[in-house]
Subunit: 321 residues, 2 copies
Amino acid sequence: MEKPYVIGIDIGGTNTVFGVVDARGTILYSDSIKTGQYEDINDYVSALATGLEGVIAKAGGKDQIKGIGVGAPNGNYFNGSIEFAPNLPWKGKIPLAQLISDKTGGIPVTLTNDANAAAIGEMTYGAARGLKDFIVITLGTGVGSGIVIGGNLVYGHDGFAGELGHVIMRRENGRICGCGRHGCLEAYASATGVARTARELLINRTEDSLLRALEPEKITSKEVAEAAEKGDALSKEIFEKTGEILGEAFADFIAFSSPEAIILFGGLTKAGNLIMDPIKRSMDKHVLKVFEGKTKLLFSQLKESDAAVLGASALGWEVKE
Amino acid sequence: MEKPYVIGIDIGGTNTVFGVVDARGTILYSDSIKTGQYEDINDYVSALATGLEGVIAKAGGKDQIKGIGVGAPNGNYFNGSIEFAPNLPWKGKIPLAQLISDKTGGIPVTLTNDANAAAIGEMTYGAARGLKDFIVITLGTGVGSGIVIGGNLVYGHDGFAGELGHVIMRRENGRICGCGRHGCLEAYASATGVARTARELLINRTEDSLLRALEPEKITSKEVAEAAEKGDALSKEIFEKTGEILGEAFADFIAFSSPEAIILFGGLTKAGNLIMDPIKRSMDKHVLKVFEGKTKLLFSQLKESDAAVLGASALGWEVKE
């Protein structure tokens, strides 16, 4: 009989959240541990295994679990390792999929990076059900991407494909990016990029704005969205600029893989039409004629609190029995 | 028994060249007709069919032919049509694969654009044998691309993916492109783009150059290459600038699909290391750290005179019997 459940594990710098998921994308049992608390990877895996035993027991034991999927920063699908993840406590290459499988009595474990997990999640349970060619763009602290072509996730020859946060959007006087280069999409369209645009506008412009009541260095994209929703013109302009640059980038992505949809995922999507409308206008303006009006722009359909675990869990179904 | 031959048809604005090809990529019999001579598509297909009958007869009859592959500008793999090709005599959508199949007694016909045909040709007979993730960039009158991911050509949801000549490389004061937009890669890295760079440098600069003996409006990329080979500093600088921009573009392509190789194809590759060296320097300088040193830059291994027919013919092997 087909095993009815999978487990999704979302590894973040602060928390590791995991849950047992059924075929319809419902998280039945979940729990979490603190990632940052375990400096030794073996201690971390032991604590994680203990947590997993708890939810597996509730689900009726490990014979009910088809596979475990892990979404992790810098996760490599090909070898199941986390490689040089700057925001995790463990350095170098960590063969995490193997470590987890060993500690859970041999349940098959598949691992990929968080944006790829989001793309598989959308395809399995979300906005991309039935789509074979689409791109998920994650707009959070950074900008990530999961690219699906012909129904398959694009891993590239080394497992690291889909770094669309690091295409260069401004080749002259581009902002410095966390990657050390200048002008990356991520430097403009991430939550921190939006906050940075806010600070720039507040300095370079003189008009009144609700944002002027805030301490500039601590402004967040959430506060900009709130001000924009209240009608603050400068805040709306910040989203306009962010959407403009995203739309330019999407026009280039479309020239590459001609996706049926681009799906927006992550914290910044809470801004709703404040971010969607300017992206759409910019994309329509910049796209090559042959692609005009063809690529849909969609928001993720995964519930935000569950999305990361669901996305990771979707990998669990890929296991061949 | 497996049929031993395929036919490749390369449709250009001036000539249509076709040939019978064996499994090792040898063109056994070939012929051509003048594309531009036939304003009516039916007359064209009749003339083509007559030409094909000739080479098919030499090959031992149509039972020896597994399939026909066609490379054509604006060719759509999904529906076998040429759609709104600006440099061909026939307007609108032409169901060319069907028309050719009907006129050749039902031999299966597969059609795609010329850059995709080049990519399949490299994979079947050329520099990409054994590779599953690579991009062919065609540097000719325009800049085209054929993208292979996981061993499959990327067609996108509409059959038009792989327009990498039309990613935007210069968003401020970008050159006008044939597509009507500004700053496209093609406006800089095509043969006409190189000639344009030559004219710009000759106007903006004062130093001596072999190119000053030529009529500016008629300078070709071939003449720039010849001057550069003779040691002309300004001409070398033209290739340096062209390579710089191609390397920047390739760094972005690598962030998308992380290919094992990027293969250069077409007229401009005759410049050899004059173009390859600056591309490589620029790509290495601009690529994201995780991809450093991973993607090979190669020249096409298809003989230039045969490449287009070979590329198209490779599609013929895809037919399922």
